[in-house]
């Protein structure tokens, strides 16, 4: 188990370096001068060069990547080896610490993603199971039609329609915006109720697509598992249908769903860009889009670091969880 963990962590480090390196190089290849942008239109050629020197963008890409990695290290060798706080550097555009940008955006995205996940599982589990139990019934046909619609509609469209109809026309929810869970800053609305009230439309938007995908997966898995021999064995033992479903069918049918959920949540944590953009949520995806538009590579890299870490960690959690719930899998 310990060996397994050590190996997984080493792999994670390698993966991390590769992902960030590719992102870094890609960013370097964009034919734009961040210094020019940061400096402004009125700058002379000399001013731009001074800004470029201050930002470090006049140095080769490997030097810049080295600095980036150096900032992430918990130790520094400048002036004798000593411990330091790892950091993500500062934005090219507004000189803010990227750490605090990520720290502010991550809870917004996490609120959106985990809330939406609960919502889509609450929809997908019962609908998927009931559809599997009664294939070709009215419910099944209705839910399969819903699945098709949910998969086909773009989240931007869903988000805008919800925002317009429920927020703007019906005045039932805010049109956009976010409220802090732990109380608002500077007189802005805050607290759990405002938080949920502001997030309800984003949750629905993000949940619709995923609910559709999960209904289909759960339905297919349950239907497949229902025909397994061990389900017949359970019935032959005299188990009531509810017990057959819970202890024998679902326990097996939901195993792959766990993996899927882990991956999807991790991917969404990297930024549910469409939903965040439509509802003006200041989350990771929204920030990433802004930063890319400004050639603000430290901010983009910061968000990539966070997203990569989230995916790696979720991956590890899913694998550990899987080994725990599926006895056939051993971690070696």
């Amino acid at each position: 188990m310990l060996r397994y963990l050590v190996r997984r962590i080493l792999w994670a480090v390698l993966l991390f370096v590769v992902v960030t390196l590719i992102a870094f190089v890609l960013f370097f290849l964009i034919p734009a001068n961040p210094a020019q942008l940061a400096c402004g239109k009125a700058c002379t050629q000399q001013d731009v060069q001074r800004v470029a020197h201050a930002l470090g963008t006049d140095r080769p890409v490997y030097t810049q990547y080295g600095w980036f990695l150096g900032r992430l290290m918990p130790v520094s060798f400048k002036g004798g080896p000593h411990l330091k706080k790892p950091n993500l550097g500062r934005s090219f555009v507004n000189r803010r610490d990227v750490d605090s940008v990520v720290a502010e955006a991550a809870p917004v995205t996490a609120s959106l993603v985990f809330g939406a996940m609960i919502l889509w599982m609450l929809i997908a589990l019962p609908v998927g199971i009931l559809s599997a139990l009664r294939p070709r019934s009215l419910l099944d046909r209705a839910s399969m039609t819903g699945v098709l619609i949910g998969i086909s509609l773009h989240p931007v469209f869903i988000g805008l329609m919800l925002s317009f109809l429920i927020g703007y026309e019906a005045h039932l929810t805010p049109i956009a915006g976010y409220a802090n869970f732990f109380g608002g800053l500077y007189g802005a609305p805050g607290g759990p109720i405002q938080w949920a009230y502001h997030l309800i439309l984003p949750w629905i938007t993000l949940a619709i697509l995923n609910a559709a995908i999960y209904v289909r997966m759960i339905r297919a898995n349950v239907m497949e598992t229902m025909n397994e021999d061990f389900v017949r064995t359970a019935r032959a033992k005299g188990a009531p249908e509810f017990r057959v479903m819970r202890a024998h069918i679902l326990r097996n049918a939901l195993l792959p769903i766990v993996t899927m959920l882990g991956m999807d949540v991790a991917a969404a944590l990297g930024g549910a860009i469409f939903t965040e953009t439509v509802f003006g949520l200041n989350g990771l995806g929204y920030n990433a889009i802004q930063a890319i538009g400004n050639y603000d590579s430290p901010t983009v890299m910061g968000i990539i670091v966070f997203a990569t870490t989230a995916i790696i960690v979720m991956n590890l959690i899913v694998d550990l969880l899987y080994a725990w719930i599926d006895p056939r899998i051993r971690l070696v």
Binding site: A236, K237, G238, A239, R251
Partner: protein, 340 residues
Amino acid sequence: MPLLEVKDLKTYFSTDDGVVKAVDGVSFSIEKGETLGIVGESGSGKSVTCLTIMGLNNPKNTISMGEALFNGEDLLTMSPGRLRQLRGNDIAMIFQDPMTSLNPVHTIGTQLVEAVRLHRDLTKKQGRARALELLKQVGIPRAEQRIDDYPHQFSGGMRQRVMIAMALINDPDLLIADEPTTALDVTTQAQILALIDRLQADYNSAVIMITHDLGVVAEIADDVVVMYAAEVAEHGPVEAIFRKPRHPYTWGLMGSLPRLDTDVERLVQIQGHPPSLLRPPSGCRFHPRCPYVMDICRQVDPVLAPTGDDPRHLQACHLDEETKSREAEKLLAGMMAGAS
């Protein structure tokens, strides 16, 4: 009153291609402590017969008719709740493939305890003690440790032993074994059969043994039902079937018995393929493959009737008694000659 009396059982499946008559008028009965062998090719309806008795067919596309009286109660018409009380408690079943018949995510202990506690008001601890007792009886080595293992940690033979333990854990009156040895290697087959035989004696259960292996039937059965294309071709006590087989299909089955003690180059096989149950042949269903086919066979389905000398020995064939005796004797003489 027999323990189980099946009368004119019919099971039809509706499929996209039409109605498949998987079991079409099967009758037999079995007394307490007896063993009934049901023999036939794949698709002859032997498994479906037993799944129908257990109520394990998919109810959505299945129609069952006739009666299956278990201690006088009709299994086909009783409430699902009552059927659940009987299943696993009074009637238990062992399936063909032990590799897939156990739930992979629960330990065998959990699955055995579940089987007890569905029918007995026992604590988990008592259930576990009972499970352990059964595992020892079916010959699982180091049962105390193995009870907490998962199915994938057992070999096929051991898994089938676990299945048998699970079936016998509530001391059922009737045990249905659906080709319990087909998926196992020959040595293990013999062990499993010996185990079922021994436990049957211990528990005084009646056993229905479904198989396509006449050797198995000869070994353990008291009565034999030979099924062909959803119908009973021949039915009688085991000595009668083996000493005086009266149906060309039974002869065919016997001819295809592999014998280790002869140097026959090839097994004699029954020509042709089993018929489609969507559109069974007219008249006698065996006629397209029967070497003794007559005109009447193509038009009239023979009724299952007692043979001349034994009222318990039933057969469904148009051939006259004399020809049947002669051909059966020729076949047996041939087998004896081969054996000596």
